[in-house]
Symmetry: C2
Subunit: 405 residues, 2 copies
């Protein structure tokens, strides 16, 4: 089977490496050798062991021997047009491109289904952690109630540094950049956009209805302070950037991205550094967690190549992955969703507060601060709660949701 | 699609419940309704909502409309003959029967492959945790180096009680029996036979060669003492019953079951009560962990029904699950495998010991005891090490392997 790679960056070159290195084993798994026939990239790689580079997409599109194309370009354009053209031409497409799957997955899956081929994207969420396939082929007998987890390694590394070394957000970010875990412009990671795309994909798989990312309320970790870390530790929590999708009270799907207090008793709280963990929860199923390195060249490339193997094993069979196209009324704004909240207040004395379970003081630092863990409430109820406390002369300094209790 | 259930015990009746309750959702997933046409069981269930009981296997075998049969009988006979006859007759078989898959999986998979149907067994390991499918369809691009984990909930519950409540093994076992987690005859769980069957299955999937269970050295947890728990805590470890399969130094596959010291930094150490956790490790992949409730009626039934859905989606397509048939030379005895060991000694003073990293004393209880963590060594080297220490006037009281450092 001849394949092509579009985009020879970190993951794309990893795919080249894995296919070359594991050729013998892959022959056993596929029943035939995998040959990389074309590599599309606008850059030159004169020192590469591969000699099949091209800058012309048509070399791939028009090669009748190419049956599977790996898309590791990232971004919407031109990846979307390329992928669509290839699927329409009857070629399987395998991708790690979460942005594209979140934006156009519904349509690309539909084209693949019509042509009895496959559009596969295991590597788009969780790097080398199998999560896409378990969601559509193992956890199918009962409906999930919640999918939530740590989906971004960069932010988890930063938060781990803040917890374990007492670093400020800024210093922890710099450390992540020095280690190559964060990009020069860290916005997509730090502000939660990467997590947003991933939870959109998981949500569609788990609940069967597409959601759109621009309606997923997304909050990053740049506002987490040393005080938040202090109170979290004292109250028995960790802070994690969480993507959460759930069947909402109003019947729609509610997806959101937010930094959250996670109790130390929840396995997500123990997931540190660049690791990811995803929990799928269902009435009958209880909780199942998937854990591992959520990024990195070779783990992600392994996931891509495993999809290539599956495409070759299903040459003329569509592996049914399906969700309904986006409808506005199916995506909930979450107005009725209740979470417990952590709220930090400025105030010398604690007023008589109803609606909260736990209160703690920053006695050591004597900052005239306290923090509360509220009962589960809607955002509107939270606003009222905060107003009531502020009416007593305190000032709210920060708030975070709780998840995983 | 008409299906049949063979064995209406805990899991079998759970399958009936899940199919009935989730009918509407299952129609969406399969594209057709699932109808339970026959339930085979030697017992009578006069109060059941189902009215299709039979005591005659031929009612299922000879019903041309039955396309998928669920085997939740357990044991080798008659489950083996039944499953084989059904597959030969072109009916998909879905099972939770780890004993049968470990003993005859190679042959049953081969028959399914020849007939372009499926023999599926996601529920045989890890209850509701997806692990079988990830192993054969996600983690396929690079070879695993190790698969290890907590595969039995009963023993993990007992060990958790011993750690968290200071219970003796006997009392913890009684508590497990009272909760319904352990059977009246707990041998299969406590002595590791259940874990042995499960690691045999995972080993075949991960490494591609069948192993036989009677050559898997299997040690249970009945000899773990309060002192072992004490030293584990003091040295920063937990004790877990581990199934481990690895590509051995001599090139074969080495599989074993043993209670082990697991460092608290390893995610397996935090898995308590009846939960299971399975780690797959590979050079490129790093570590991936799967976690959840490893048993229980509805989680396991969910896994079975998900396989039924997959069989219906692959009516005339074999989902290639394949390993080579057992060859004696492919299963290693592990003579060259090295593990670090914990060894507990009786002795008033610690002799000058080489070959160990950590030593600790039971100072509080003043029992004239100490424990060491050795360097990684083979079993033969361990024997020599122990002899050398005993030569100095000490007596070895117990030893356990370390894993997951």
């Amino acid at each position: 089977m001849k394949i092509a790679i579009m985009g020879f960056g970190v993951v794309g070159s990893g795919v080249g490496e894995v296919v070359t290195k594991n050729q013998e084993m892959l022959i056993k798994k596929c029943g035939e050798p995998i040959e990389i026939a074309h590599i599309l990239d606008l850059r030159d790689f004169p020192d590469s062991e591969f000699k099949c580079f091209t800058k012309d997409f048509n070399d791939i599109l028009n090669d009748p021997e190419v049956g599977v194309v790996v898309e590791t370009m990232g971004g919407i354009n031109p990846a979307y047009q390329f992928s669509k053209s290839l699927l329409l031409a009857g070629k399987h497409v395998v991708t790690s491109n979460k942005e594209l799957v979140a934006a156009h997955g519904t349509e690309l899956l539909e084209i693949a289904r019509e042509r009895n081929i496959n559009y596969l994207f295991e590597a788009s969420v969780g790097g080398g952690i199998p999560i896409i396939r378990p969601l559509f082929s193992c956890l199918t007998a009962g409906e999930a109630t919640d999918v939530f987890g740590i989906l971004n390694g960069t932010t988890n590394y930063i938060l781990t540094q803040m917890f374990q070394k007492g670093e400020t957000f800024e210093n922890a970010l710099r450390a992540a950049q020095q280690k190559g875990y964060a990009e020069a412009d860290p916005t997509a990671d730090v502000e939660g956009h990467d997590t947003c795309r991933k939870i959109a994909i998981l949500s569609a798989l788990a609940f069967g209805d597409a959601v759109v990312t621009d309606r997923i309320k997304t909050e990053g970790i740049s506002k987490i302070t040393a005080e938040d870390v202090f109170y979290a530790e004292r109250l028995g929590y960790s802070i994690k950037l969480i993507g959460h999708a759930t069947r909402a009270v109003d019947g729609g799907i509610y997806a959101a991205v937010f930094p959250a207090f996670v109790p130390k008793t929840n396995p997500l709280a123990g997931i540190n550094d660049v690791f990811n963990g995803i929990i799928v929860k269902g009435d009958d199923l209880g909780e199942v967690m998937f854990y591992g390195r959520g990024a990195g060249k070779l783990p992600t490339a392994n996931a891509v190549v495993a999809d290539v193997v599956d495409a070759i094993k299903h040459k003329k069979v569509n592996i049914i992955i399906k969700w309904n196209e986006y409808k506005e009324e199916n995506q909930s704004e979450g107005a009725m969703q209740k979470y417990p909240y952590y709220v930090r207040f400025k105030g010398a004395t604690v007023p008589n507060i109803s609606g909260c379970r736990l209160v703690t003081f920053d006695e050591d630092a004597n900052k005239n601060e306290f923090a509360v863990i509220s009962e589960a409430m809607t955002e509107k109820e939270l606003d009222e709660f905060v107003k009531a406390v502020e009416f007593e002369g305190c000032e709210a300094l920060g708030k975070l949701r709780l998840i995983g209790e």
